[in-house]
Symmetry: C2
Subunit: 135 residues, 2 copies
Amino acid sequence: MSMKKQFRATEQKVALYEYLKKARSHPTAEEIYNVLKPSYRQLSLATVYRGLESLQKQNAVLEILDLNGKAHFDGFVHNHDHFFCEKCKKIYDFNEKSILKNLQDIPCARRGFKINSYQLIFSGKCHICRKKERR
Amino acid sequence: MSMKKQFRATEQKVALYEYLKKARSHPTAEEIYNVLKPSYRQLSLATVYRGLESLQKQNAVLEILDLNGKAHFDGFVHNHDHFFCEKCKKIYDFNEKSILKNLQDIPCARRGFKINSYQLIFSGKCHICRKKERR
DNA sequence: GTAGCTGCAAACCGTTTGCACGTGA
DNA sequence: TCACGTGCAAACGGTTTGCAGCTAC
């Protein structure tokens, strides 16, 4: 029989979670590591990755792959889309609610496919990089 | 002045292109390599990657990142969406034309963002894997 | 007490690169 | 001719893993 795994609220995982909740910047694991390292001097990158994996399984955090295949993390877990800047490689929230509203309506069931989720990521140039270019 | 790079139709690149045009299976670079290797005994994986990069620049081929960050390639370059099977890791075409029709209509310009492209990938279980499970 | 978590270092693996040689236009 | 492409092997970089010790519950 399948016993559900118990997640533990360790100091490190709480710190990860709290940072992601307030940072709306979609950081990578390494960026998070660099921010938290000064406060948690023993912290290791592997722990960041494992903590993020654990938080994901609890649906507390979302993983987004950018168009280079690099993982970013988002503390805002409601269904929304993203924008990836090809220049500065930052990820932005594109909206509060995904522009794909009715997932059920999408005509896919006829092929026998079961959709669990989707990722919609726009790619281009962000307002900051465009402004810099115009100089 | 910026001279445009000339692309050459070498034997290897033609083989890559022709394989992708008929294989509707969204193979990875390694899968393509394994298929072509018997016919091109000197072929190296690096050449496959470089050839695919070159074909992409000519808009002859499309790169799709699956939800594990792995690159797959598609010889069908018109704007369409994909489906990624979480079980067998295969990528399928989801439709002939993307369900996002009017890219211009998306209210993004107000933020000063410039959209060049987007990737919409559904994730779930494909019909083959679902069938297998039901046994 | 014990399942789950941590830090460290090493391994992993898909992809890219440097180099010397080859080849298409 | 010579810019572009190739094969090989080594490097890269983000992520994962094995292990011994630690900690939340």
